[in-house]
Subunit: 368 residues, 2 copies
């Protein structure tokens, strides 16, 4: 198994191929090791603060009736991705699936794959085994999310070097790419902090108010649950020393989006180390806002069963309930059966959203 | 009821208010007229080719026990929107709802609105009655969609005039705004045609290939079902004389996206005249592609019940089945119970997607 972490993804794939070839030449059983990705092997890395995989590993063997087809499939995936990198072309895990389904030719009855549900976990096997992300294999993930602020990046694209100035994108904002590591370089980031805003509508509100200009902030909307690219971007900005404040609804979905940004998710625990932003803080909206902003009491909604179930679930996660502020917050939700949307802050006047945020930031009122 | 179509939205709102005030002064019952928006009043405008509303109208009266609350609510909406326009600030129909819910103050027990489901139809009442779109009332709709190509626009935003060059947006593309009428001006559009691509992943594939550069095209992905802003943008490009080719999956969702772009939808029939693009053509993928591109036969999927039901439904719409090419296409789907994704064109090589499109365009092989 390739161990050299300085290797490029392409070199890692070549090492992977060579090690299989060596096994064959030696007459031994070709194999590779990958991390167990089931929930039983998901652990919370206490010191750093993210979800990652524990030590459990699995061996994939070629000479094993239950595994040999999957082994062959994995090597076919590795070969295809190596080709994509060589060609400098990107596709998705769906595009990869269709190439593999196509690739045995029309004379062969057997397909390498019949369903995409077969190829997806094997891509993760490769990611976990080689210590790389699928983006490194030229496989784009779904992208979503916009950004505005005093920040310039260089996008190496189609043989050109394009400078994108995130302060010149108007009402649209810069659409965050799938991969912000391999082809995006940061030219300069002048902002003082990053505000992540769950809903695009509220991002647009703040963008129109020139919030990021007045505050010298970067405003990002993941437009709901954050895609891999948006999460990785938030993490990179955090690594540059910028505080990350997340501004979401006070409901199941808003909390989930926050914790996925902060600690990573169980599903992506195998890349949690790179994709989580443990330093992120939750700025609101919160149940305690109901005490500080009287008018909000008129604008709450009844929490749904999903919200209440999620609040209960979060209380059972030690990495959440260890924060007494979160434990209190969630208990309030369970007690009052109430939730609150970030949109409510437009109640008194449209520009109140920004006033609220400024007040909270200057008072350092965050949930951890 | 205001009739002068040259009036600005703000003037129309003022005329609306004045006409109610005049009714009150005259001692007559304040009223206004709006179009019936139920499906029974949706008609297909045969000559132009879009779904619109028929002649049925409804009167809203203040002195009518069943209507007086809704009448009051509608005037409250009109007043708020007038204020948003005056302030030059935008929000969403959700933001408007929260302002109205807030606005009676904390001393009054009664709310103007309790649920957003009450305010939404009244906004449509106003749109239909005044002959304007909600975007004209500074109410942003959900936005979605990206664009790349030889086109420049001016975005009047935050007191600045920002020129956006859609050929310099790199891998991201220009994120299409909610409203492309009031604050976006077209500086120049040099492209020869517009290609609308259902899936963002395939848009990214073509963008990476420099398809729009080589072809001098504009490529748009609505990223699934087209939002109002994307539909309106496609229509405006069509009005400039550019051919519009739509490239979708051959399945229920792909067809639905296409027909929504082309004829508009029943739900938005009240603005169908402005939002439909009757000249749009369907480039693929189609069932007939299976005859021309042998390899695709290996990559089809089983049509779902939804796909088959939708195909049947489309055959029952006279504005679709009048096109014999569509009738044949849909009958093939029903007979073979097969569907086909646009992603399959990556089977032989990632760049084949562009080859397919070039061939189809040069052979003028479109469905109407």
């Amino acid at each position: 198994m390739p161990k050299n972490t300085d290797s490029t993804p392409s070199e890692k794939l070549e090492e992977f191929g060579r090690s299989i070839l060596n096994d064959v030449k030696k007459g031994s059983n070709p194999r590779f090791i990958t991390a167990v990705r089931s929930r039983s092997n998901v652990v919370y890395e206490e010191k750093e603060g993210y979800l990652t995989l524990g030590g459990a590993q699995e061996e994939r063997n070629f000479i094993n009736i239950a595994q040999s087809k999957r082994f062959m499939q994995t090597t076919a995936i590795a070969a295809k991705c190596h080709q994509f990198i060589r060609e400098n072309l990107h596709t998705t895990i769906r595009g990869l699936f269709y190439q593999l389904k196509y690739s045995l030719g029309e004379d062969v009855d057997e397909n390498i794959f019949n369903e995409q549900s077969e190829s997806n976990p094997l891509i993760e096997d490769l990611e976990a085994s080689l210590g790389i992300k699928r983006e490194d294999l030229n496989l784009n993930a779904n992208r979503k999310g916009v950004l505005a602020g005093n920040m310039r990046v260089m996008d190496s694209f189609g043989g050109e070097q394009l400078e994108i100035d995130a302060s010149k994108q108007g009402r649209s904002g810069w659409a965050i790419p799938s991969d912000v590591d391999n082809d995006i370089q940061f030219v300069d980031v002048k902002a003082k902090y990053v505000l992540v805003i769950e809903k695009d509508a509220i991002w647009q509100r703040l963008n129109e108010d020139g919030y990021w200009k007045k505050e010298n902030a970067i405003i990002i909307s993941p437009q709901g649950q954050a895609a891999r690219g948006a999460r990785r971007l938030i993490r990179k900005l955090s690594d540059m020393g910028l505080p990350i404040y997340v501004f979401n609804d006070c409901d199941a979905w808003g909390w989930y989006i926050y914790w996925t940004i902060k600690t990573g998710s169980m599903n992506l625990a195998y890349i949690g180390k790179d994709i989580a932003t443990p330093k992120a803080k939750f700025i609101g909206v919160t149940m305690s806002d109901l005490e500080h902003y009287e008018f909000l009491n008129k604008l709450t909604m009844r929490a749904s069963e999903v919200d209440l179930k999620r609040a209960q679930e979060m209380l059972s996660y030690p990495w959440i309930s260890k924060h007494k502020e979160w434990a209190e917050e969630l208990k309030k939700v369970l007690k009052t059966k109430t939730k609150l949307e970030q949109d409510t802050l437009q109640g008194p006047r449209l520009t109140f959203v920004g006033e609220y945020l400024r007040e909270k930031i200057s008072n350092k009122e965050f949930l951890p």
